[in-house]
Symmetry: C2
Subunit: 176 residues, 2 copies
């Protein structure tokens, strides 16, 4: 088993709706830290993390975002452009992986997050898809939908859903 | 991280609906083997697997099934009784864990599987709940319900759902 190919974990990550600058959402950070702590643990060579950030076109207006970032250096030239928002988000995850020695890749796509995530699962065939979720009640879910519910049903690989805990939930639970 | 407490993984397992004798269902076996292969990998000391088998009272008629089985030996005396069905199921998982050196525990509860699983999550606070599922389409789901969908929404810990693949699906996909 030690020589086997690493377990490829695709993580859908998004920006916080709370802060002005593109920090990772509470549920994305939670899902990421949990995965390192409880799944990867000390076996850093056994896993490769794939970070996918899906931007909704009308919100962000990017044209050219199918780039791949595989190291902190890859982000420098991109930062000069408006694409810096998404790159900044992904940099958070890539920097953290490099610091602890976990292989990773990160990229940005545009589209409907739930559709794009399931499409990327089909394309990349990861071993596992990790999606954070807000843990909303049924009433709140009616209005915002949830990416995680869709992915659990439709993604063609095992899916782990990680809810925020009560103490991580912001004043308005629809925020993240 | 190497000295940290192991990641405690609760797995809901059930019997096959196909064979007469209590073999593990296709989706339970798939979820188990996948967890060993893709999550535990070579880090056998980093994980503890907790196997929960929930029997529906009217189907099985057991009275006394809150026992804990922690090693293959624990099963011997129980085999003399009718409870052997559930014990045989759990023995499959416990034997396999012992063979590869992964710590485990297994027990039987009776009740509604989805309710009991979520109750045991609350009681034991595992790091992760693993549930296999048949991967049924929406039409089939209407008639059989799914334990996994309920657990994703209600269990108070991260949940991983693992669908059977197309080639593992029996002739009648409601079978498992």
């Amino acid at each position: 088993m030690a020589g086997a190919a690493p377990t490829r974990v695709l993580m859908g990550v998004n920006e916080s709706t709370i802060k002005g600058y593109p920090h990772a959402s509470i549920s994305s950070r939670k899902a990421f830290e949990w995965t390192l702590d409880k799944i990867v643990r000390s076996n850093t060579s056994g896993f490769k993390l794939l970070f996918l950030h899906v931007q909704v076109p009308d919100e962000d207006g990017f044209d050219d975002m199918d780039s791949i970032y595989a190291s902190p250096e890859d982000f420098k030239s991109l930062k000069r452009r408006d694409q810096a928002r998404g790159a900044h988000l992904l940099e958070f995850f890539v920097e953290r992986c490099h610091a602890i020695g976990v292989a990773c890749e990160a990229w940005i796509k545009k589209g409907d997050p739930k559709e794009v995530i399931c499409h990327e699962v089909k394309r990349l065939q990861p071993d596992l898809l990790v999606v954070g979720c807000r843990g909303l009640g049924p009433f709140q879910r009616v209005f915002v939908g949830t990416v995680s519910e869709f992915c659990v049903k439709h993604a063609e690989c095992p899916v782990i859903t990680i809810k925020r805990s009560a103490e991580e939930t912001p004043e308005d639970p629809v925020d993240d």
